[in-house]
Symmetry: C5
């Protein structure tokens, strides 16, 4: 999965809307291309059990011949920047305008919609490279074709599938529904290393929180929790989508493929399971941070209290004998100052007070850490 | 969507009741007009596949001719201040008294009620202009008409639909159920820019919380959370309402329109998804505020502790040698005061104590930020 | 709804049990009258479409003649203090002993039980007059009668229904099931002004919490949360009860009345919606209180820290030059005391230290509010 | 219900396992008697509509004759310490080994299992006498018998049922299923006074928390929350068990008894309702404790801050004029000491500073209460 | 259950992925053996009602003869380090490649998958020996065989089952489905002593938290909560798996065995019940820790405040009379210093101030414990 990281964007709340271009009130089924969308690159894999052809067609029209010749044709569109290409593909494969609108309105949740003659599947693909980035993958499955649309994100998770097609593995002997399953499975599989990264991040952070619970660490905990929330929005609906693929009656999905979809469904369950565990660990980290801060404050206060409460009375005594009452004016005025043992006795009293307070603190358990 | 903002009201708990006028015990089906409701302005759009007429009728009676002439007539009532008009409309379109009561009792949750001959749909429309304001939109759908009622809020979300009708788009070739879908979709669409605003607010607030976690910032977090709660009360039941439109058997909704309603349903899911994400971010902000405050307190205490605990013992020593015991009275009385190196030695001792304490603090990790 | 407020009781946890008199182990179906229950006052409204009779019968036997003469008879029993009357009514209307036991065991949750020949409906009626008070209303609905039992609370929510019966409105032309609906709706309606009170209380409290977050305010937040919990225990099961009236097949409820029950069901949904909103606002207030307290503490600590950390080093310097080392004894002993510029220089050093610390604090952002 | 309280045990987490004796890996259906189980005391009530016999049989064999003679025989086994007796009873009543294993493995949750020829019902009985104690009650219901097993706890909730049997009430005219219902209802009924105790405890604690929020009070809140958790584990599954008795088709439960079971089901709902209310109050108490502590800390800090910040600057000034710079050495050295109005002016300055600070604090709202 | 504890690994978030070896994009059904997996040790138990043979076959081929001769053959594979052995077993027992992939991909959640001719059951086995360790157990059940795969963990929970087979108990007379039940039950049974350990840990920790709420104790609470989370991930899906074994129609599970599976299902319910109770106790401990810390801080602050606020004013007074204003220079300059009763009066004033403050503190309730 080669990364090129051109325009990764952090998943901030305001950015959740950045890619939505169609203004409110646009008629349903209208295709409004985002100005910063890449021009599309088309790739076609067409195969039967014996051979597999890979071409980059210059126009949509070129695709038709493959459709006629091969039992399965996979057209991958990387970039959504050309309205004409999308509409031509829509005509070629008889796609519903509402589905095409969802392709360019790239804020869909993972879902499966049944249309006449084809299935429309939306998945989300995620990458992390300092920040978490995501794109929508739209998959149309028909009797003899799979059509996939990707957004701006560099690279994708389909590399291994392409490799298998090129080497002519058993995959080439199966139908379009199995190819669609393999693509979905590839997307799901790419979530595992991503979650692994978050697992490591959480572990690093736990140590950081214990070492020094400052605002910086808290913000990192915060950021991870945000990312896990974004992952959740990609994975949870994916489970429902795959479940509906698996259970809803549909002529396009063969029963053999359903066995594999059950496996993919198990994968989404595992992902959710890990995700929820990580989310709970994330919450725990936040609590740990709070408690750690609170504990540290308590520690600091303890030291302040011990030193203050020991020296404040002593300083008071010293202050008393620093008063300038004139012993000559009256025998009641600080006669201690002239006593033989005045000074040593005062020091002794101070020592006794200090030691008593120390004992008191130890008894209250403030000295043993 | 031109705003005129005459009487926007903040959604405070007490205000949730302000618009309910009918006293408890009023007989069901009674229409009690709120005294501060605007006098209604009627607008009629009547069209067939070829032409579309737009008029502002002076009386309800004028509407009937359009109903007879055109396959679809849309009557929009802006303002609920005239009981007579509402009752006349009720008679003209054969509406149930319970439904009419819900039109003027503008505290309904979004819902769909099936009555004989028509569907009654309630939605809520929201605007934000410093404060969040909302109004109830009541939609009746019959075989050949759509009747909509709006409250006091200036402007509405129906502008684009009107525009399409005027330009005679494909919309004019479809039935009343499709027009109703378009109106509902326009309302849902208007929630997206609203949520976008909250996304930006949340982002601004996150920076504010980190910069200075004062009560003011907390109140802003609080206010956003309130608004999101109000949005939730508008969006969640809207999902259920649209789902029941989509699934419940009903002769008024054609199967072609159901495909579009599925799209509208997807929109409500997206809205809920965003809303819940924002709500979670709002909760996180509150936690961040609390932790930030707590951290700041800890920081402040650290500085106080370090300075206090260093100077308190030193001040005590200075206090001791400020005592006025008379060295002439006895050789035990502060002989240090007359030693040759008394003063420098004392300063040295103070220096050693101060540096030791600094080392102790560094070892406990209190000095490195 | 005239209030007389004789014996309102606060809904404290211990009081939840006060009205249960039957000791554990009493045989099911036994009627045990509470010693502090009021002697019952019976009121009968009997009507057909043309006239309505209102009498206060002296004995249960008097009721029978009305039952024979009128299609609908409503018997209201205010006070549960007479076992004989309750048993007589039970015999007259053929009520099941288990249902009668529930009438006097006034700690039932709202519910609907179907018995042969009649429906048994339990609702809870609430009033607030400084403290929240509640009573159980038991409603039996038969083919030609409605029988209602109320507890000790002065006044009820049935006033408007009585008024309509007296004025002979359309209500008198309908069946017993419709009357039961009207009574239930009257009870539900009376929750709206109650919730309105809590809405205002919450708003007042929000200001109070921000003004001064003391224990008193916290207790008021606490008390409102308790009351909302009690309201919840009355409203949530009422929704289920009305839903079961609405959906369960039952010969006693006519289909026309079901339309009205759907409206009542909508009301319970609105009540729950408001209640949950208020509960969330209550939780927010508690959090706001906590954060407010914490912020205030932080503010106070800041002032203490700033003043302490500025003056502690200065006081130390003053303390040093207050030491009494004898400059005559040795040239090393505090020669500064005799320098020409000793005092001004010391003051200058103090000034510099104080100003530096102020600058340090400003840089850390502790001085800007 | 005579209590003898010999060996009540607190429901601590470790104790939850104390009574499980069968080591992991024991074959299913094996009866392993706990070494500290009491030797069983058998009591037999056998009755028909006319008379009721009560005997304490010496051996299991004696029971058979009652079974033959009477339509209903109730065998109560108090103590599970004799494997032989349990196995004999199993043979006599044809009980399934898995059910018998559950009888001695007294950590079952309340449940209902259907076996051929009998129903196996598990309930939990609880007492509170400073600490909360519980025991498992296993109930077998057959066509003509009820067999109940109790654990070590002294006393039970069946006293009133025994009393009714002895006095030959209507109970003796009904079947075994009705007796089983009465026993279950007796157990449920005994939860009400128990919950009443917790209601009173919660009220007492609320006052305690407000009076002094120390660790001791917190531990009491904590302990109540633990007990409510234990009660929850007894009551929630009891509801499910009774519901399954009520709904699942079963020849042993007559339809008349089902009406009573519906009443028992209502009781479990009430219990759960109270329990959840108490649990919420318990959580509130914990929050109240936390806020109370935090408030108190804030109060204390306020006093410290006010006194410190007033006197610290004043003490500094006093310190300055306590310095021993020699006015004779230079005219710049503390000439104030010899000014005529030096001392009064200094005192005046101190007074002005102190009063200014007090005004400042009042303005910030720190002095009002 | 002899433990050898070679390579137990803590269940840290990063480790949750350690055992997954297959890189993303690997074709479904591929067996990728983990490099640190142990070489497998095969054990065969084959039995009919009369005798039971136990052998350790050298090759998979040796197993076939037992399959032919005995009605039930149990093959246990301890270690997943040899791809060839796993594939041979797959061929011998006609296992589906997807199931075999799940055997070596040892991060499956407990589940039941139905394949043609066999059932595939995944369970998780856990041990605790300072740290919690877990392994996946894969169980295939066919008409005449049970095939189990275990991971690296030393020892297993199957000891008692082996013992029973060797002694030829009634177990040898039953089918493969019953053996599978016994193995599952043995795994579930081993969770009980594990949970018992956590019960004791929680109790120990509660005392620790109350004794000294330091970070160390908090981390131990934290660690237990993590472990309980891991246990939850093993037990919750196990319940669903056993429920699907119990309910789903399947020719391989005989109805007699279903009765026992109901018992196993009850065990998972008990486990979940305990687990959730412990999880709630764990949360309570964390709260208790926080409150305990906060209380301690409050205690410490109280002592600091009392001592500071008493001595600060006194020290100020001493400071005033330590000023060196020259009484000779003016009669206004500290004439008190020469008064006859100056010193005793000052001491008296100090004493009065100190005692007054003490009284003030007592009145505010800060002195009583």
């Amino acid at each position: 999965m080669p990364h090129r990281h051109k325009n990764l964007h952090r998943l901030s709340p305001a950015r959740l809307f950045k890619r939505r271009r169609a203004p409110p009130g646009t008629a349903p089924g209208t295709i409004v291309v985002s100005p910063d969308a890449r021009p599309p690159i088309l790739t076609v894999f067409a195969y039967n059990g014996e051979r597999c052809v890979e071409v980059q067609p210059k126009s949509v029209a070129e695709i038709r011949e493959h459709l006629d010749k091969y039992p399965v044709t996979w057209v991958n569109v990387d970039g959504l920047g050309d309205k004409q290409v999308i509409e031509d593909l829509g005509k070629l494969f008889r796609l519903h305008p509402l589905a095409l609108e969802d392709v360019v309105n790239t804020h869909q949740r993972p879902k499966v919609d049944q249309y006449e003659g084809n299935l429309f599947i939306v998945m989300r693909m995620m990458q992390r490279n300092d920040v978490l980035a995501e794109e929508q993958v739209s998959i149309f499955v028909g009797k003899n074709f799979v059509l996939t649309f990707q957004e701006n994100l560099p690279g994708d998770s389909f590399g291994p599938v392409r490799q298998r097609l090129r080497t002519g593995g058993p995959l080439t002997g199966k139908g379009a529904d199995y190819l669609a399953y393999r693509l979905i499975d590839a997307i799901l599989d790419s979530f595992f290393p991503l979650l692994e990264q978050y697992g490591e991040l959480l572990e690093t952070l736990e140590e950081a929180v214990l070492a020094r619970a400052d605002v910086d660490t808290l913000l990192r905990v915060h950021a991870i929790r945000h990312d896990l929330l974004a992952l959740r929005r990609a994975i949870w609906p994916a489970r429902d989508a795959i479940n509906s693929l698996l259970r809803d009656p549909n002529a396009l999905i063969q029963s053999e493929t359903r066995l594999f979809l059950r496996d993919a469904y198990d994968h989404t369950i595992q992902l959710m399971d890990l995700l929820e565990t990580f989310r709970e660990l994330g919450s725990d980290l936040r609590d740990l941070h709070l408690t750690s801060t609170s504990n540290r404050l308590s520690e600091i206060m303890k030291v302040l209290t011990i030193i203050s409460t020991i020296f404040i009375p002593l300083t008071f005594i010293a202050g008393v004998y620093g008063m300038n009452f004139d012993p000559d004016a009256s025998p009641w005025n600080m006669p201690e100052l002239r006593w033989d043992w005045g000074y040593p006795a005062t020091l002794a009293v101070m020592f006794v007070i200090g030691v008593s307070l120390l004992f008191y603190f130890r008894r209250r358990g403030w000295l043993g850490r």
